[in-house]
Symmetry: C2
Subunit: 216 residues, 2 copies
């Protein structure tokens, strides 16, 4: 392993890992990937070695510049401050507020309620309904917000951190069979973003740890 | 109501509202408060008027500089960018990453799992155990992280956004009767912070909408 290269601890299907993979791709940052399988061996995130790296026992975590950062948005903000080009936060503070509001809505208001550990707790028979409720409730709000902030992307016409949160969350919505018809703005932006190379190379279906049957 | 004064939509007991009240107090920003009672009338956050302001139907929301921002951390980051003194994020990007990681751990990894709307869904008989699990699981990680980042406060010796998240979360832990003995670092920092005026004037027991029987 090359000294000094950032190491991303990632799981192909983790929507939070995908956010960071998009950021790394957009900013052209070369990195090593260390896959952490969240279901194999009872969950590799529970190993002593990984817990020492990220006590939250979650992916992603990024080793970079001599530190290890957990929490996808904290990682993206750090990348933005230390590798500012191309920017993922607009220059105008009001637009930055919109980007962070949308990012937090997804990262704090939707994803945590439908992640693996919560779904385990609600029990197999309730998982689908639980996840669908969390996502539709968040998307109802998001669709309304985007109607006033969006241009080509979530906030205006520049790809931002909000877009890095949107696409992986829409993928989760599709996995949980959420009807996306009531969300034309979300759907349109998602489609536009998926055409960009950074969103494609980072896609769950194209990762080193993607199982053969899910590759595309 | 004075023109131009920020308006904070807040609920005395909401831990996310408390985060923002601390930020406003630390930065000495004068504001009007509009109480939104999350339980009265079936929840005032569900009113048409409030939904137009914040489609997520959550407090806090801050009307400021002609915009309305939802999501507590997005609000705090906006205040930090537009009213930078005293700062709530350290100057060093690595320390800023620690502050944001801790803030996101609480705001994305703990609070959303024990908030009012989720507890309604898990049913009254499971609420206490559910909330306790979410908090202890997060605090186990947080205690370990703080052991390497903390000085007097969560990250070094300066009050930061992480501290604004910590104190309200500890208050929630106490409400849900979580045993704090295994968390000496969390407990020590919480106690130190509660001695500061900004944490006292913003405290849930001293808000305009605090019911008489909970006042202190």
């Amino acid at each position: 392993m090359q000294v000094g290269k950032p190491i991303l601890y990632s799981y192909f299907r983790s929507s939070c890992s995908w956010r960071v993979r998009i950021a790394l791709a957009l900013k052209g940052i070369d990195y090593e990937m260390m896959p952490i399988n969240l279901v194999k061996d009872g969950g590799q995130q529970f190993s002593k070695e990984f817990q020492a790296l990220n006590p939250m026992k979650q992916v992603p975590a990024l080793k970079i510049d001599g530190i290890t950062i957990g929490q996808s948005l904290a990682i993206i903000e750090y990348l933005e401050e230390t590798r500012p080009t191309p920017r993922l936060l607009p220059q105008d503070p009001k637009k930055r507020a919109s980007v962070r509001m949308i990012s937090d809505l997804i990262a704090g208001g939707i994803q945590p309620l439908q992640n693996l550990s919560v779904l385990k707790q609600v029990g197999q028979e309730n998982q689908l309904t639980w996840a669908q409720n969390a996502i539709t409730s968040g998307f109802n709000a998001l669709e309304r917000i985007l109607q006033s902030t969006a241009g080509r992307y979530c906030v205006g016409d520049e790809v931002s951190m909000a877009d890095l949160c949107l696409v992986p969350q829409v993928a989760n919505a599709e996995r949980f069979k959420v009807d996306l018809t009531p969300y034309p703005t979300i759907s349109r932006i998602n489609k536009t973003l998926l055409a960009l190379e950074a969103f494609q190379v980072s896609h769950p279906c194209r990762q080193p740890d993607t199982p053969a049957e899910l590759r595309a």
